[in-house]
């Protein structure tokens, strides 16, 4: 909630056009920014040690991103250009995974069928044995998908105004943000948990069932308004929404994990979480 934001002179008139439907990931600082955020959030946090490990993963991702080739597009499916469920065109992500494991957790060993493990991680349906490896597998795939998503043409991703999955790769979002800069101010974007593409989605509308009645915003009492759970009485689900006017350094993946306490309270109050955080794999409720 900006309290009286002032429009820059350069932005006067630009707000007459709708905000861009998609914003592709910026390869220059995509993961470096997250690493810095995780490092900041880890300080004094009850999950600080875990966030610090994830900060090292994010730093390794930025490093790997700079060395990764352009990649081979997955087989065309007619769904999205980079369908995350389609057979992968190459194994460019695998050296990234091996490198991260060697540097950060050499005690973990990969199963023989790594591609099947990758499929389970991408489907958010891990086996008990997958839980420790899942964040690393996701991190490597995330680098690979992000590299390819950055090369897409936003014009090819359509202008559909209501998409609950990523227009680039079809994966679930991890959280949404309410922007706070320039002509984007106040607009809400969903952030893909896999390829980092952000896409516009209306405010005060359930990003799960697309209903508009019975939407409310819950935060931990005295929380300052930066992180809320957008709950829907229609479908019983919630997703997190971060108000960048309250904290401009927010990273959807990092801040989602750092606000786990909000999940605990909102879950106890009866809402179910719509989107998984890929860095906190858990067995799905059966």
């Amino acid at each position: 909630m900006p309290t009286g934001s002032v429009v820059d002179q350069a932005d006067i008139g630009t707000s007459a056009s709708p905000p861009p439907f998609v914003r592709l990931p910026d390869l220059r600082n995509r993961f470096a920014r997250r690493a810095a955020r995780l490092g900041h959030l880890a300080d004094g946090h009850p999950l600080g040690d875990y966030l610090a490990l994830l900060a090292r993963i994010a730093a390794a991702q930025q490093d790997a991103l700079g060395r990764l080739g352009p990649g081979t597009m997955p087989a065309a499916t007619g769904r999205t250009p980079l369908d995350h469920r389609a057979p992968r065109g190459d194994q460019g992500w695998l050296p990234v995974l091996r490198g991260m494991l060697a540097d950060l957790r050499p005690d973990l060993t990969l199963p023989v069928d790594v591609e099947a493990l990758a499929d389970r991680v991408l489907a958010h349906d891990p086996r008990p044995d997958d839980l420790a490896l899942a964040p690393f597998v996701h991190a490597a795939l995330e680098v690979w998908f992000t590299r390819m998503a950055a090369m897409l043409d936003p014009g090819d991703l359509g202008h559909e105004r209501s998409l609950t999955t990523c227009p680039a790769c079809g994966a679930l979002p991890v959280a949404s943000t309410v922007e706070a800069t320039g002509s984007l101010s106040g607009s809400r974007y969903l952030h893909c948990g896999l390829c980092g593409t952000a896409w516009h989605f209306l405010r005060v509308k359930c990003a799960v069932c697309e209903g508009t009645a019975g939407i409310a915003y819950h935060e931990i009492e005295g929380g300052g308004g930066a992180a809320k759970a957008e709950t829907c009485d229609g479908c019983g689900a919630y997703g997190k929404i971060f108000y960048l006017a309250r904290d401009a350094a927010t990273d959807p993946v990092a801040d989602d994990l750092a606000t786990l306490g909000l999940d605990l309270l909102v879950g106890e109050a009866g809402w179910a979480r719509a989107w998984p955080n890929p860095y906190l794999a858990a067995e799905r409720p059966r």
Partner: protein
């Protein structure tokens, strides 16, 4: 529920039990401090509600933030108002008057009930809606009976009532505007602005 069908099996859960078998614990970390930290806290609920700025006929969209859980014993209060970024008319922007709407909502001088100042009296006094509506109807009827113009000088039927006018609200919906038009025009009223420009 919206167009897309949603099954609860598609959902995820980060409860204390779920975290016990998660990446966090599998990698050797403990969820216990996080579970303990949040225990004393409660949730605070707000809503964001779309509305239309009442000031002028541009009809900018606004988002009104309110606290309160709509329970019987709690009172909702509007805490913030901003331009609706999704509204095609103003795309999140507001003029200085619209940007000050919160003060308008909470103004101690805001009129929330009918008041009457009798001819020659100095003081306004609170009156019932029945009194106010009866009084308005009486005065309108008297004025219309006195000043109604059924025919013009050429003898053509015109059915005009030009001595009383009406301003409607800029935040009216199409349906409200339709009904207002029917009521007002059917009495022959000419001076009428359905989307008041103030």
């Amino acid at each position: 529920m919206g167009a897309m069908s949603v099954s609860r099996r598609q959902f995820f859960r980060y409860s204390g039990a779920a975290l016990g078998a998660s990446s966090l614990t599998a990698l050797g970390f403990s969820p216990t401090p996080a579970l303990a930290q949040v225990r004393p806290f409660k949730l605070a609920r707000t809503t964001e509600t779309r509305n239309t700025c009442p000031y002028c006929s541009v009809s900018c969209g606004v988002l009104m933030y309110s606290t309160g859980d709509r329970a019987k014993n709690s009172r909702s209060s509007i805490i913030h108002i901003e331009g609706d970024p999704d509204h095609p008319v103003n795309r999140g922007t507001l003029c200085p008057k619209g940007a000050a709407l919160l003060d308008f909502v909470h103004a101690p001088t805001r009129l929330t009930y009918p008041e009457y100042r009798a001819p020659g009296a100095k003081e306004w006094k609170r009156v019932s809606w029945d009194f106010a509506l009866d009084r308005i109807a009486r005065l309108m009827k008297d004025d219309r009976d006195k000043n109604f113009i059924a025919k013009n000088q050429a003898g053509q039927t015109v059915n005009r009532w030009t001595s009383t006018g009406m301003l409607a609200a800029s935040a009216s919906s199409n349906e409200t505007a339709f009904l207002t038009y029917k009521v007002v025009r059917s009495m022959g009223m000419i001076v009428f602005d359905n989307q008041a420009r103030v």
